[in-house]
């Protein structure tokens, strides 16, 4: 009897195992960070959007091919002539994964949640810019009022951070909502074990995808996301078949994977700010523009790109990556690698090695700069390169690797000479986060009132050509004033198993459209 029972248990285990999705229907996706929070309305991590872009729908979508906005949960929209009122006419028949109907009230609920001070939103609230209020006109019409025109507004609404969540689920779960997220997208948020994995399951009822999606419903039954925070583990996980797609493969591993017929590298250039080193213009000796220019001339960016990045990403010349809307190519004329010129500039300011210790000095003070680096994005390698290269010119660098919160603190107190950073974003308004005198990331400590005006005006200007003209001026001013040392444009090297087809990315370059992904044996 016991033996029969044991066989039954064993058999049922096997049968349950068989009933799960086959390997053709189940994909595994490698993430590179384990974010501390993944509520898109609250948290800022770009990693959270990789799974969640497929859990939530947004009012509009940005077509990466045309650069135009296309309908999402909003069938169409009007913008008032003064640019202050956006009226959205919503799609009917959309339901969230928990059965809650999507309507104007749901939009109002979501915007009210994001803008509520209690939520302490780190990104979504900021992205809404001059948002004032939301007004429900009727069940399927909603108006959003701004206090002043805001050009990036549709871009904001197209991103997962403004994804529409089920009001019923948000009410039900409260502070624990991030573990039980409910959207209306092609995949259902099935399971999240922080630090371990996220599981998405196909939404069979999905029928309201935007035109940028090629399929009506998701092609895979399940997608599991696992975290690979150590870059050295990413390529092995792909090569052993543990994952099907892996983001941010280190360049040296990507170079090797390219020659493997079972895998391919899908490089996605990321728009936004390039990897650049902010120079603190308030702290001597970097308060002198000639010293900052000397550092720019003394930096062999091509060598860094070929060594650290293995030519996988282009040399950056200005504060914006070349694929960003409004990129000004004239920045490429600035600061070629020129050691002679760097040395001449330093000598002109009075920095020379009088005591023969290999480090330049002036009035008894050595030319020593404090460099703070975060441990990701190959910044430590870039830092080592610069330290060594600049040492030959008699510039000493004290380096320290810090965490992101430490970097924020250091930068806020202005204790740094140099901090590298990069940030992605599809709208050039991202420049306002770095070079406006009141900006959150004003790590160059620049207070240029004219540039402030350009940035503010550009954010209010709806005419694209006029905006681009203003951003062009900002980029030239940034390089003219030698506020940053641009290093490279960010390119996400996705390692993809050849059994994966149909992997496409949104206009941010970070977020995959998983609905179209298929797997073969």
């Amino acid at each position: 009897m016991n033996r029969i029972l044991a066989w039954c248990v064993l058999l049922s285990v096997v049968l349950i195992g068989c009933a799960g999705p086959s390997s053709e229907e189940r994909g595994v996706y490698g993430l590179t960070l384990a974010p501390s929070g993944i509520d898109p309305h609250v948290n800022a991590s770009s990693e959270l959007g990789i799974p969640l872009t497929s859990v939530y729908d947004t009012l509009v979508y940005l077509d990466p091919e045309t650069g135009e906005f296309v309908p999402g949960l909003a069938e169409r929209w009007d913008i008032s002539s003064d640019g202050l009122v956006h009226t959205f006419y919503l799609r009917r028949g959309v339901t969230f994964h928990d059965g809650t109907p999507f309507n104007a009230e749901a939009v109002r609920f979501n915007l009210a949640r994001i803008t509520s001070p209690d939520l302490a939103s780190q990104k979504a609230r900021f992205m809404l810019g001059p948002y004032e209020r939301v007004h429900v006109v009727d069940e399927y019409t909603v108006q959003i009022y701004l206090s002043e025109p805001f050009a990036p507004f549709l871009d904001t609404l197209s991103q997962v951070y403004l994804g529409m969540a089920s009001p019923a689920a948000v009410e039900q779960w409260g502070d624990e909502y991030q573990l039980h997220q409910v959207g209306s997208g092609p995949f259902v948020f099935a399971e999240y074990v922080p630090g371990d994995h996220i599981l998405l399951r196909r939404n069979p009822d999905y029928a309201w995808g935007p035109t940028v999606y090629r399929h009506e419903t998701a092609q895979l039954e399940e997608i599991e996301f696992r975290f690979f925070t150590d870059p050295a583990t990413r390529s092995p996980a792909l090569e052993t078949g543990e994952v099907d797609v892996m983001g941010e493969i280190p360049p040296q591993d990507a170079a090797r994977l390219k020659s493997n017929p079972d895998f391919r590298i899908e490089p996605v250039p990321i728009p936004g700010a390039s990897l650049m080193i902010f120079m603190n213009t308030e702290r001597p000796p970097l308060d002198d523009v000639r010293v900052r220019q000397a550092l720019l001339y003394a930096t062999d960016r091509q060598a860094i790109v070929s060594t650290v990045f293995r030519e996988s990403s282009p040399v950056a010349h200005g504060p914006l990556a070349a694929v960003t809307l409004g990129y000004e190519p004239a920045v490429e004329e600035f600061y070629p690698f020129d050691v002679e010129r760097a040395m001449a500039l330093l000598a002109e300011v009075g920095w020379s090695d009088t005591d023969g210790d290999g480090v330049r000095d002036r009035e008894g003070q050595p030319l020593a700069l404090d460099l703070y680096l975060m441990g990701w994005g190959h910044m430590p390698e870039v830092g080592q390169w610069l330290i060594s290269q600049w040492a030959e010119l008699g510039i000493a660098v004290n380096s320290q690797v810090v965490s992101y919160p430490e970097a924020l603190e250091v930068a806020a107190q202005g204790k740094h000479h140099l901090i590298p950073f990069n940030l992605s974003g599809s709208d050039p308004d991202i420049l306002r986060q770095f070079f406006h005198s009141q900006a959150e990331f004003n790590w160059s400590k620049i207070a240029d009132l004219e540039m402030d005006t350009w940035l503010e005006t550009a954010a209010r200007t709806l005419e694209r050509a006029d905006r681009v003209e203003l951003y062009s001026r900002v980029q030239l001013r940034v390089m003219d004033g030698a506020l940053v040392i641009p290093i490279r444009d960010y390119v996400n090297l996705n390692g993809v198993s050849n059994r994966v087809q149909g992997l496409g990315f949104d206009a941010q370059g970070w977020f995959p459209w998983l609905i179209d992904v298929t797997l073969s044996e």
Binding site: P231, A232, S235, P250, Q252, D253, R256, D300, A303, S306, T307, V308, L371, L373, G375, P380, E381, G383, Q384, W385, I387, S388, Q389, A391, E392, N398, S399, Q400, V401
Partner: protein, 277 residues
Amino acid sequence: MIKWYKPRRRPLLRQPVVLVALGWLVLVGGAALLAPWLALGDPVVVSAERVLLSPKADFLLGTDMLGRDVLARLVWGGRWTLGMGLVGLGLAVGLGLPVGLVSGTVGGWLDVVLMRMVDGMLAFPGLLLAMATIAVLGRSIISVAVAVGLAAAPAYARVARSATREVRAQPYVDAARAIGSTEGHVMVRHVLPNVTAPLLAFAATQLGWILLNGAALNFLGLGVELGTPEWGAMLADGRGYLRDGPWASAFPGLALTLTVLAVNLLADGVQEATRPR
């Protein structure tokens, strides 16, 4: 109890294993000391032209991901790693020995207070204690040396105390007291010389721990500045390039392993040489 094996006492320099270990330590230490005068490549200059070259005539141990000579970095790195180890050991002994001696000699409430403090510190894993120290002191190689030294000190105090108590129970100490020696005199003249042997052996064991954990802290980026050739930091730098240039991290790893092994073998040897007859 049956003793199957009666350990023999053998002079240090008669033990072949010790000679080999000493040979390695002299080689590594000597190279580190003489680094500026050896005909080596530059340990910090980067070069785009010679990234991850495999070991060959020009670069005996190859080059790392930024084109730096691994051999030169290894030799110069010995200065940081071994220097950090010696400073840490000095601190561990300098703090642990007096505390243990006094605690074992004075006894009473002082012994209780000191040993409870030591127990408190021993309750934390050594590496955690070291990381907490660095959190207070800030990141630098000095902090690492101080941190591992502090973390090793309580164990040293414990061993010093028990050795002291053991010696103090000997008849000759009673005899010294009987002829009127003061406690201080007993401590310096009778206890200290007789605890040297076990404490020396334990110090050598601890040096191994200090080297390993100091390198671990540097590996974690809590110690030396970026680009400084230090074995732990070199291991960390090369770790992402294991497939394309294993030599960049294998050689510092090997150097560290062999050095710690040599130090531990030396500790065994000291123990064997000083074993009571």
